[in-house]
């Protein structure tokens, strides 16, 4: 099993799920409140299943998700950004889902993770529909085009180099230097602090 790829996917989905949930209650319209909340919940569900596969049936997925140091997370900078502008939020959704589809397709032949990848892909189809619907609606708006261009180097950083040409072909933007995984944005530090606070403050031996 390609553990590194699976861990990257799990961390991306956990952190992005966290970020998408920040729209719950304050999205520009009620339909999007529902959509973002549902997408967030589902992304975190994908993260949970991937962590569980990594730790084994009887392992503790929560420990892998929440007990690591900040620098041990493998998520891409794209998912860490705290975007409170709708154009950038939709641009990230569309770029993320387009890249994610390519990455999941590449995992489908993995003997251990292939089943999970196929399951995730069936569910992500609905996220892709939502993203495509918005991309079609906004694609000629200058503000949205700028947002896509701003996030493009980050989107390339989601994929390993051999998968990037497929993303470039689908998105139709020129190749640029990717913002790679490995170092984290300051925005992740704040999120990590909030996300792990309860577990860090619990006395040793607490049961969950």
């Amino acid at each position: 099993m390609n553990e590194q790829t699976l861990l990257e996917l799990a961390d991306d989905e956990l952190i992005l799920g966290w970020r998408e949930s920040e729209w719950t209650g304050i999205a520009p319209m009620l339909e999007e409140d529902v959509a973002f909340s549902s997408i967030a919940q589902n992304e975190i569900g994908h993260a949970r299943a991937a962590y569980q596969l990594l730790v084994g049936e009887d392992g503790d997925a929560d420990a892998l998700a929440f007990d690591r140091k900040l620098e041990e997370y493998r998520c891409a900078p794209l998912v860490e950004l705290r975007l409170m502008d709708w154009a950038h939020t939709i641009a990230r959704r569309w770029l993320y889902e387009t890249a994610d589809e390519i990455r999941i397709a590449a995992l489908k032949d993995d003997p251990d993770a292939g089943g999970l990848a196929a399951k995730i892909d069936r569910e992500e189809a609905y996220h892709r529909m939502h993203a495509e619907m918005w991309n079609t609606r906004l694609k000629d708006e200058p503000r949205y085009r700028k947002a896509v261009a701003d996030l493009w180097p980050y989107a390339l950083g989601l994929l390993s180099p051999e998968l990037r040409p497929t993303l470039i072909a689908r998105v139709g933007l020129p190749e640029v230097d990717a913002i790679e995984r490995g170092s984290h944005t300051g925005e992740l530090a704040e999120l990590w602090d909030e996300m792990t606070m309860v577990r860090r403050s619990a006395p040793a031996g607490s049961q969950w």
Partner: protein
């Protein structure tokens, strides 16, 4: 000693935590029941991986097996072996009666937006096919929202997985 048949019929009494008109057996999420020397291994598949009812379902399965005197071992199988095509005909009818349009059949490739918008999705209340997509997402990950122009009523559509 508990038998697999007894376990299956007991599990058929467990309602889906979010759509209680349908049982977990009707929903098709119980993949297998294996009984050996009083130890009962139940494999079940989540509908959506983000389903918040996952833990509740797992606990309900364990409790039901324990009530029969078996030692439960419930495994969650996170692969593509469940699809909405596994919902039983009786289960589909129960969904319809409760106001949920049952899912369309799964196709070889994952569904696309154009299918969700253009395919015939019948209103569970009046049977009209004059319905349109309101929101891909609904109150739980497994449902979309549609609106019926026939009886002017919103309804929930079980997503095809």
């Amino acid at each position: 000693m508990v038998t697999a048949e007894q376990v299956w019929s007991a599990l058929d009494e467990i309602p889906d935590p979010e759509i209680p008109v349908i049982s977990l057996v009707d929903l098709g999420v119980i993949r297998s029941v294996d009984v050996q020397d009083g130890r009962v291994r139940v494999e079940f598949t989540p509908t959506f991986l983000g389903c918040p009812a996952l833990e509740a379902m797992k606990r309900a399965l364990e409790e039901k097996v324990a009530e029969l005197g078996g030692v439960p071992e419930v495994a969650v199988i996170s692969d593509d072996s469940w699809s909405t095509d596994k919902i039983t005909p009786a289960g589909r009818e129960k969904l319809r009666e409760a106001g949920f349009a049952p899912p369309a059949p799964r196709e070889a490739t994952a569904p696309r937006l154009v299918q969700l918008q253009a395919n015939v999705h019948r209103c569970p209340y009046c049977g009209s096919t004059e319905t349109r997509l309101e929101n891909i997402f609904g109150p739980t990950p497994c449902r979309s929202l549609r609106y019926c122009d026939g009886c002017r009523q919103p309804f929930e559509q079980f997503k095809t997985i």
